[in-house]
Amino acid sequence: MADPGTDNPSSRSESPSQEGGGSEDKLLLHQRLAIRELIDTEDSYLHLLRLCASDIRSGLQQLPQGDLDILFSNINDIIQVSSRFLRGLQETASQEEEQVQLIGNLFLQFHEEFEQVYKVYCANYDQALLLVNAYRKEPELQQEIQGIIEAVVPQAGPSGLSFVLVIPLQRITKYPLLLQKILENTLPSASAYPVLQRATSALQDVNSNINEYKMRKEVASKYTKVEQLSLRERLARINTHTLSKKTTRLSHMLKQEAGLVPRTEDKEFDGLEERFQWVLLCVTELKSNMAAYLENLEAFLRFRPHECGVDIPGGPAEQYSSLARDLQHEVFMEFKQRLEGLVWQPLCSLASVLVGPQNLIKKRQDKLLDFERVEEKLLEAGTITYEEEASRHTYQALNSLLVAELPQLNQLVMQWLGQIVRTFVALQKDLADQALQKAESSMAQLPHQHISEPDFRKLLEDTLDRTSGQLHSFRESLEKALPPTTQPLLPGSERQMQALLSRYGPEKLYQVTSSINGTGTLDLTLLRGQIVALLQNKDTKGNRSRWLVDTGGHRGYVPAGKLQQYHVVPSEKEPRGQVGLLEDSGLLTPEPTQVPVSAAPAVTQVVAAYPFVARSSYEVSLQAGQHVKILEAQDKKGNPEWSLVEVNGQRGYVPSSFLATIPSPAPWGWSLPS
């Protein structure tokens, strides 16, 4: 009802004429009406809210609790704020003059709280709607819900639940409109006018902030999760749209790299991102290092040092065994469990928390390229499409979101990280305490427990020296080869032995331990027991296992392993005649011409052990038991298998092995001393 003259402020101030007063009154009336509307609608709004929160909600108890939480969100908080707001409004009713001013102030007072509670509700509203639509699909459930709603709020009509749930949204957007109406009907000169103006713009800001918040939340939830797409799904997603998006991004990025297009630098963001990357690095490294530590701890626990059982009952050995067992099963086990619960788990949670921001940062980078391209186009063309506007908006939303929340994220993460490290330290300390306690109680039972550590070490060193000396002597006594058994000499070889002895000296004499069959031209064939003298302990090729020896008659090579140093036994004549042979060979003076057998004081004699038939003129026949005189214990070629003997006045060769030495006088029938 615009009256051209009535709203003229100058006319009003100048003259309270009937016309001016009339229009003023009209304004006042409208103002009053608007204020009335504000208060009344607030009242009924609050009433509805209360019905919603209590009656409707309890009526819908058959729905799961989680659903109800999503549907009704923070409606109780809204009720709280609104009821206080209403009270404030109702109080202003008494102050007629200043009511407008008071209302304006009230709004200014409450607008922040409104923003806080309504933004949560609004951001959640989409999810609530999704649920409502889901319920619609189930006819039975839908009917039930509808019934309850209609019972409580008849005016809801067929839209039912959604009608009810949208009410707070409607209310918050209504505030600026209501205020606007009051403002329109207030004279600009009125003292309340500026307040009202501020209030109105404040409420408008509240609404735009709520929208912004809602959009951020949407963007965040869209991009924080990287979907696990299979390759096929990824390929399916590629269409012309996404391809063109990606190619334009790429080309823009290349232009940036080439310097054709300036990069949007955002120092604030870059600083935040850098810090975030370091925080991420810290957490990731700590997590993987802790994993390695835990792995090693587990390997350590699998190892069983106490299951060694040396048969030493009692004493330190048992002590140690039980200590090791305790340490492993109790102390370290507990440590491991606590470590897993109080350090590892939190680290894992921390690491997973950082995934979302990582994705967002990546996405922002992509969107930034879009944004820059759009900005470029804007500069060039002056207009942009709706889509481009949207992508610009997305970038801005992402950017502001990250800038707003990254500082807090970084700080919280670092605080938690510090806490985890401190916990790790505390666990180590507890481990040390427990282990020390066990070890000390073990030590208390040791014999030397009162001795200080350095003294004990000295004592131990001395003990170990002593025992190692004992062990050494043990070893030596076991290893000491008892004097080698000397073979009895072959009959008739004493003279030979004497000859060798005089020529080469006693250290060079060796006895054959087992018969040698010479195979090569220079190899000798020797009998067991034979004495030789060492000429060289290696052959011409340097082979040390082939020795050059002299048998007294011949020289040649023999395997060294079959020789044993011959100790010329210094004789002490034993009472028993049987050992006489060995002893006496030492007594004999080297007289090669003498036949040693007969020179000895008739202790031994040589007889034929077996009969032998001579087959040539060089040989001589033997009868078993015949006494023979050995002239030479080898043949002309030095072969010891033949001996030159004299028997019955005849001389000839006989096999050496057919001869035997016996103590004499040895007539038939003598009995050996047993």
């Binding site: 924080t224 350590f300 062990l471």
Partner: protein, 258 residues
């Protein structure tokens, strides 16, 4: 049955009395078992100190050092003084613990592993001596059989001669065997008994080494917790705090809800 012509099947005359043989078996048996145990103990001890040196416990020590090292090298240390202080202190502590671990290993090496090795080194000589005794016994048996063979024959001149020869050969061999036998029967129980005195100090040393190591650890980490202003929380308190921090982080929009 005397008409059986084959003399090979006849049981050998017992030249070594049964009781002596039994004693020998028993003592040697005990020592063989001890050898086994010593070898096993040595292996375990070696694994354990290898564990300390290059195996699992060393790995634990080294990975603890790596934890603090990586933290120290993070650029955040330059920006955050508190963080730097905490991490530096941790790093110092870890390095010192690693050094003590090394010391523990060295001590064990000296007082347990080395002596064990020395003890174990007696066994090869012992086994060799037993083998030689066995060899001597075989020779003894063989020559004894030969003498007996001749003794049973008709006493003709050649037989007597051979008999004399055989007895000459037998005597040194028998003496040799008896000497070896006696030596072992003396030494073996002595050696077996010595193990008690021998091993006790080593085990004492092992326990003491643990005490030393854990006292140092207790001191170092006690100091560290003092330094880091660590309140004495219970495990439940810590868990609750972790939950709280997690929810705080999850409340941020940029953190994905799952």
């Amino acid at each position: 049955m005397s008409w059986i012509p084959f003399k090979i099947g006849q049981p050998k005359k017992q030249i070594v009395p049964k009781t002596v043989e039994r004693d020998f078996e028993r003592e040697y048996g005990k020592l063989q078992q001890l050898e086994e145990q010593t070898k096993r103990l040595q292996k375990d001890m070696k694994k354990s100190t290898d564990a300390d040196l290059a195996g699992v416990q060393a790995a634990m020590s080294k990975s603890a050092v790596k934890i603090s090292l990586d933290l120290l090298s993070n650029p955040l240390c330059e920006q955050d003084q508190d963080f730097l202080n905490m991490v530096t202190a941790l790093d110092t502590a870890m390095k010192r613990m690693d050094a003590f671990n090394q010391e523990k290993v060295n001590q064990i090496q000296k007082t347990v592993i080395e002596p064990l090795k020395k003890f174990g080194s007696v066994f090869p000589s012992l086994n060799m001596a037993v083998k030689r005794r066995e060899q001597a016994l075989q020779d003894y048996r063989r020559l004894q059989a030969k003498v007996e063979k001749y003794e049973e024959k008709e006493k003709t001149g050649p037989v007597l001669a051979k008999l004399y020869q055989a007895r000459e050969e037998l005597r040194p061999v028998r003496e040799d065997f008896e000497a070896k036998n006696k030596q072992l029967l003396d030494e073996m129980p002595r050696f077996y008994g010595s193990r008690l005195d021998y091993f006790q100090p080593s085990f004492e040393s092992l326990i003491r080494a643990q005490v030393v190591y854990y006292s140092e650890m207790h001191k170092i980490f006690g100091d560290l917790t003092q330094q880091l202003d660590q309140p004495g929380y219970s495990d439940e308190q810590r868990e609750r705090e972790n939950e709280a921090r997690l929810s705080e982080l999850r409340a941020l929009s940029i953190v994905a809800d799952d």
